[in-house]
C-alpha cells in the first residue's frame, strides 16, 4: 500500500497548495476582481481537490466539493451572480473544504452533517436551473468507480449500445443546417479500411475538406461495432454517411477530396435531386452493406501492424510479407485487452485526442518547478555551509610566503571562493519563497476582524514578492496574525471616533515587506490611535514590570507591550488596549533570529517592524574569546564595542555593575564570571560588546578579546546534547573547533533570574 500512500502524500501536498491558491484568488475577488481567470482558477482548484479526493474515496470531501463546484460552475456561466453573500459563502466553503482535507489527511471523521448547511445553500442557489439541478453525481468524471468488463460474453451487444457516442461534436463543428431545401444533394458513403488509418490518414480532415465544398451533414454509422469481446484493437468499425448540399459541386470534386485515400476506403457517391428526409437517410443507413465482410480480410494484417509497432526494431518489410510471417504468432497470442472505444469512432475522438495531446505537451513544456523533499534541500544547504567553512579555512591558511610562491593556487582559491559564494546564494534561493504565501492569508483575517469589531478596515499589502527562507516564512504566520489582530482590535478606532478625529471612516492597515541588506523588514502599520502610553505605563507599574520611580522614554514604554509577562494576562490587554498575544510575536520572531520594534504616534498610528534574517542557515557573527575559548555573538544584535579601559562603569549598591553609555545605564554581564570560568586577561585589556536584546533593551557583555567578524553555520547543541542557558547553539570555525553562540536575550533574562534568586 506504500505506493498509494505516496500518492496520498502527493495529493495532500497539492491540496495545501490549492487551498492557498483559493485564498489568493478570493482575496483578489474580494477586492472586486471578478475576472473569469480568477473564477476559473478557483474552479480548477476545487475540481482538482475533488478529483483526487474521489480517487482516494474521501466521500464527505467529494460530496461537498461537488456541490461547491456546481455553484462555481453556475457563477462562471453567469447563472448565479457572484454577489457579496455568495462570495462570503464561497470563502466559508473554502474553509470547510480545508477541514475535510485535514480530516482526510489525519484519518479523522468530521461530525456528521458538517458543511451540510453550506451545501444546502449551494443547492438552493443552483436549483433554479433546470439542467443542473438534478445532476447526479455519478455522471461526474471524477468518480473512478472500477467497472467490471465482461470480456468473454457473446451476447452483450448492448454493452456497446450503452456507450453514448455523441455525434453532436461533429454536427456542431460543421453547423449543419437542417437537411433539405437546396437543389443539389450528394450522398457520400465513406467506409475507411484499416490501411487508411495505418497510413496516418485522418477521416476528420477529409470530412473537413468536404465541408469546404458546401454544407454537409455527417452521420457516423456505428452498426458494425461488435461486442466488446470481439473487439480488435486495430479494427475499423465505423463509417460515415455525408450529405453534401451544394449546387455547384461535381462528383469529380468530391472524389478529389478522397484522392489520397483511394483504395483504402470504400467510397460511394450518389446524387439526390430532392432533399432527403431524415427518416429516409436512416433507412439508407440500414441498407448499407455488411461491414463485417469488409473487415474480415483486414483484421489480421491490422493486428500485424500492432506487432510491428510493438517491435520497432523490426525491419519494415512489405505489408503482405509481414502479415504472412506473423500469422502463426498472432494465433498463439493471448486475447487482447478490450480496446478503448475510440477505435469505433476515430473522427470524433481525434480532435479531442489532439487537444489532449497538445495540452499534455504544453504541460510538459510548462513544467517549471519540481517537488523536492525539504530534507533533501536542507542536506544540500548544510553541505554548502560546510563548503563555505572549508573554503574560508583554506583561505586563512594562505600566508604571504605561500601566496608569493604558489600564485596558481591563490588564483584557484579565489575562484573557489567565488564559486562557493555563488553556490551558497543559489541554494539559499531554492529555499526562498515569496512572503505572499503568508500575506495572502491576511486579507480574510482583516475581513473577519472588521466584521467582529464593527470597524471598517482596509488592508494594503506591499512587497509581497519579497523572498525569504521557507523556514522563516512558516514561522511568520502566527506573529503576523497577532500583529494584525492587535492593530485591528486596538489600533484602529471605531468609525465614529475616526470621523470625530477628522480621519477617514475606514482605517487602514498596511502590511509591507522589503529587503534591507542582509535582513528582511516586515512592517504592520495602522493609522489608528497609537499606543496609549499612560495606560501601558500604569499597568506596567501595577504589575511591577516598571519600578514606581522609574522614568521611561516614550520609546521604552512602547516596547513594554512585548515585555514578558506583561501581555500574557487577558485583563492586561483589556485595560491597556494593547498586547494581545504579543509575547507570541516576540518568542516566535526571536526563535528565528529576528527582532521586533514598535513605534507609535499618538493619534496617528502605530508601526511594528519585524527584522528577520534572510536565511537561517548562515549567521553573521563577531568572534570573541572568553577564558581561552571561542564564542560568537550574532552581529545583528551588536550595537557597538568599547574597550574596557575607556568604558564608564559604575558600581551598584549590591555589588553589580552598570555601564554608562550615551546617557543610558546598561546592565553588565561578564561572560567569564557568568559562565563560571577564570580568565587571566587584565580587566582594562578586555572589551565591552554592547548588545541589544529584544524590545530594544541593551546589555553590555564583557569578553576577553575580539577576534573579528565572519559567517558561520548554526549547529544545534540539542541534536546530541541539550540546550544550555545563555547559549543559542554552536558552530564550527575554520580551524575545525567548535565555538558557542551567545544567546544575548537568554543571557539577559537568566542574569535577572540569578539576581532575583540571590
Amino acid at each position: 500500500m506504500s505506493d498509494l500512500d505516496d500518492f496520498k502524500a502527493t495529493y495532500f501536498d497539492e491540496c495545501s497548495e490549492l487551498l492557498l491558491e483559493l485564498e489568493e484568488q478570493f482575496a483578489a475577488i474580494e477586492e472586486g476582481d471578478r475576472s473569469s481567470d480568477r473564477l476559473n482558477a478557483v474552479f480548477r482548484a476545487i475540481h482538482s481537490i475533488k478529483g483526487g479526493g474521489g480517487a482516494f474515496g474521501f466521500q464527505g470531501l467529494v460530496g461537498f466539493a461537488h456541490a461547491y463546484e456546481t455553484l462555481l460552475d453556475h457563477v462562471r456561466d453567469g447563472r448565479v451572480e457572484l454577489s457579496e453573500p455568495v462570495a462570503a459563502l464561497c470563502i466559508r466553503a473554502n474553509d470547510i473544504v480545508a477541514d475535510f482535507v485535514a480530516a482526510a489527511k489525519d484519518g479523522t471523521e468530521l461530525e456528521a452533517g458538517y458543511g451540510a448547511e453550506e451545501k444546502h445553500q449551494f443547492d438552493a442557489l443552483t436549483s433554479g436551473d433546470p439542467d443542473m439541478a438534478g445532476e447526479p453525481m455519478e455522471e461526474f468524471d471524477i468518480d473512478f468507480v472500477p467497472v467490471m468488463v465482461t470480456i468473454a460474453g457473446a451476447e452483450d451487444d448492448d454493452v456497446v449500445a450503452e456507450e453514448p457516442l455523441s455525434l453532436a461534436v461533429l454536427d456542431d463543428a460543421f453547423e449543419a443546417p437542417p437537411l433539405a431545401l437546396e437543389a443539389g444533394h450528394w450522398i457520400i458513403r465513406f467506409t475507411p479500411h484499416s490501411e487508411l488509418y495505418a497510413r496516418a490518414n485522418d477521416p476528420l480532415l477529409l470530412l473537413r475538406e468536404l465541408g469546404t465544398l458546401g454544407d454537409i451533414k455527417v452521420r457516423a454509422v456505428l452498426d458494425e461495432i461488435p461486442a466488446l469481446a470481439d473487439f480488435e484493437p486495430f479494427g475499423v468499425y465505423c463509417s460515415w454517411e455525408i450529405t453534401l448540399s451544394s449546387d455547384t459541386v461535381t462528383e469529380a470534386a468530391i472524389a478529389e477530396v478522397f484522392e489520397f485515400v483511394e483504395g483504402n476506403c470504400d467510397l460511394e457517391i450518389t446524387r439526390r435531386e430532392a432533399p432527403v428526409a431524415e427518416a429516409a437517410l436512416d433507412a439508407q443507413i440500414e441498407a448499407m452493406p455488411s461491414f463485417a465482410e469488409l473487415m474480415a480480410d483486414v483484421t489480421e494484417p491490422v493486428a500485424a501492424i500492432a506487432e510491428v509497432e510493438a517491435a520497432p526494431t523490426a525491419e519494415l518489410l512489405s505489408f503482405a510479407d509481414l502479415a504472412e510471417s506473423l500469422k502463426p504468432a498472432l494465433k498463439a497470442a493471448p486475447p487482447l485487452m478490450p480496446p478503448p472505444l475510440k477505435q469505433a469512432a476515430p473522427a470524433e475522438e481525434f480532435e479531442g485526442e489532439n487537444d489532449r495531446r497538445s495540452g499534455a505537451e504544453d504541460r510538459r513544456n510548462g513544467v517549471q518547478s519540481i517537488r523536492v523533499d525539504l530534507d533533501k534541500i536542507d542536506r544540500v544547504v548544510n553541505m554548502v555551509g560546510e563548503l563555505v567553512i572549508t573554503q574560508s579555512m583554506l583561505t586563512q591558511q594562505m600566508d604571504e610566503t605561500l601566496r608569493a610562491r604558489y600564485q596558481e593556487l591563490v588564483r584557484g582559491l579565489e575562484v573557489l571562493a567565488q564559486t562557493t559564494r555563488g553556490l551558497q546564494d543559489s541554494v539559499m534561493a531554492i529555499r526562498a519563497q515569496p512572503v505572499k504565501t503568508v500575506f495572502s492569508r491576511m486579507p480574510r483575517l482583516v475581513r473577519e476582524l472588521a466584521t467582529k469589531t464593527g470597524k471598517k478596515i482596509r488592508l494594503e499589502t506591499i512587497g509581497e514578492n519579497t523572498e525569504i527562507d521557507k523556514t522563516i516564512i512558516e514561522q511568520l504566520s502566527d506573529p503576523l496574525t497577532h500583529m494584525i489582530r492587535n492593530s485591528a482590535d486596538h489600533g484602529i478606532e471605531s468609525p465614529e471616533k475616526r470621523l470625530a478625529a477628522g480621519k477617514n471612516e475606514s482605517g487602514a492597515i498596511r502590511l509591507s515587506a522589503e529587503q534591507a541588506g542582509g535582513n528582511i523588514l516586515i512592517a504592520v502599520e495602522d493609522d489608528g490611535g497609537g499606543i496609549n502610553r499612560e495606560r501601558v505605563l500604569q499597568v506596567a507599574r501595577d504589575r511591577g514590570v516598571v519600578g514606581p520611580e522609574q522614568a521611561l522614554s516614550d520609546e521604552q514604554i512602547d516596547q513594554l507591550i512585548f515585555a514578558p509577562g506583561f501581555s500574557t494576562a487577558s485583563e492586561v490587554s483589556d485595560i491597556s488596549g494593547r498586547g494581545v498575544g504579543m509575547d507570541v510575536v516576540l518568542s516566535n520572531i526571536k526563535k528565528i533570529g529576528g527582532s521586533v520594534h514598535v513605534k507609535s504616534w499618538t493619534g496617528k498610528g502605530t508601526r511594528m517592524t519585524l527584522r528577520l534574517p534572510l536565511t537561517l542557515a548562515v549567521l553573521d557573527v563577531m568572534l570573541v574569546k572568553v577564558a581561552g575559548s571561542p564564542y560568537v555573538i550574532p552581529l545583528s544584535s551588536i550595537v557597538e564595542t568599547i574597550q574596557c579601559a575607556r568604558a564608564n562603569f559604575s558600581r551598584m549598591p549590591t555589588g553589580g555593575q552598570v555601564l554608562q553609555v550615551r546617557g543610558e545605564y546598561v546592565q553588565v554581564v561578564d561572560l567569564a564570571s557568568r559562565f563560571e570560568m577564570t580568565t587571566e586577561v587584565e580587566r582594562d585589556n578586555r572589551f565591552v560588546v554592547l548588545c541589544e536584546a529584544e524590545g530594544g533593551v541593551k546589555v553590555a557583555v564583557i569578553v576577553d578579546d575580539i577576534i573579528g567578524q565572519q559567517q558561520v553555520v548554526i549547529k544545534s547543541l540539542e541534536e546530541n546534547f541539550q540546550s544550555i542557558e545563555g547559549i543559542a547553539g554552536g558552530t564550527i570555525l575554520g580551524d575545525g573547533n567548535v565555538a558557542l553562540i551567545v544567546d544575548v536575550q537568554g543571557l539577559k533574562s537568566a542574569t535577572a533570574a540569578h539576581k532575583s534568586a540571590a
Binding site: E676, M677, S716, N720, F721, L740
Partner: protein, 161 residues
C-alpha cells in the same frame, strides 16, 4: 551437502551471537570498563574540546565530528574521581546513545572481549554511583570489567539537575 554444511555454520554463529556479547574494553586508571561494541561509532585521540558553560564538571565540552557537535563526557569525573588531565594519548570513544552521539573520554582502549551473556553478574548493592552507572559486571582473565550504562552516564549534565 555443501550448502547444508554452510547453513549449519551460519546458524551456529548466529546462535553464538545471540548468547554472547562483544565488548570494547577501556581503562580508567587501573580499572577496566566495557561497552557493547555495536554502540561504538568511532575511537579518536583526544584533541581538545570547547568547554560548555553551566554544565557539571564531567562534561568536558563539545567537539566537531565531521560537522556535527558532539559532547564529551569525562568518565573519570563521572565516577567522582576528579577530572582527567587529558593528553594526546587519551582516547575519546564516540558512541550512540539512543538517537544521540556522545564521546566518552577514557585513558586508553585496551581490548575487544567476547563474553557469554550468562557470565554477566549483577552489580552488588553498595555505592549508589556504581549501581547507577553500571549495568553489570563480567570477569575477563580474572579481572573485573564494569559494563557502562551509557544512558546513566550522559544524564544529569546540567548544573541544576
Amino acid at each position: 551437502m555443501e550448502s547444508l554444511a554452510f547453513k549449519d555454520d551460519i546458524s551456529g554463529s548466529v546462535a553464538a551471537a545471540a548468547n554472547s556479547l562483544q565488548l570494547i574494553a577501556f581503562s580508567i586508571g587501573e580499572q577496566t570498563y566495557g561497552v557493547e561494541i555495536t554502540t561504538v561509532r568511532e575511537i579518536r585521540a583526544w584533541n581538545g574540546a570547547t568547554p560548555l558553560p553551566n554544565t557539571r564538571e564531567f562534561v568536558r565540552g563539545v567537539i566537531n565530528l565531521r560537522g556535527t557537535i558532539v559532547p564529551i563526557f569525562d568518565l573519570r569525573a563521572r565516577f567522582g574521581e576528579g577530572q582527567t588531565s587529558p593528553t594526546k594519548n587519551h582516547v575519546v570513544v564516540v558512541m550512540s546513545v539512543g538517537e544521540k552521539w556522545v564521546g566518552i573520554l577514557v585513558d586508553a582502549v585496551s581490548d575487544i572481549l567476547t563474553v557469554a551473556k550468562t557470565d554477566i553478574h549483577n552489580v552488588p548493592e553498595g555505592n549508589s554511583i556504581d549501581t547507577e552507572l553500571l549495568n553489570g559486571i563480567v570477569t575477563h582473565e580474572s579481572r573485573m570489567v564494569g559494563l557502562i550504562d551509557l544512558h546513566a552516564v550522559v544524564s544529569g549534565a546540567k548544573m541544576d539537575s
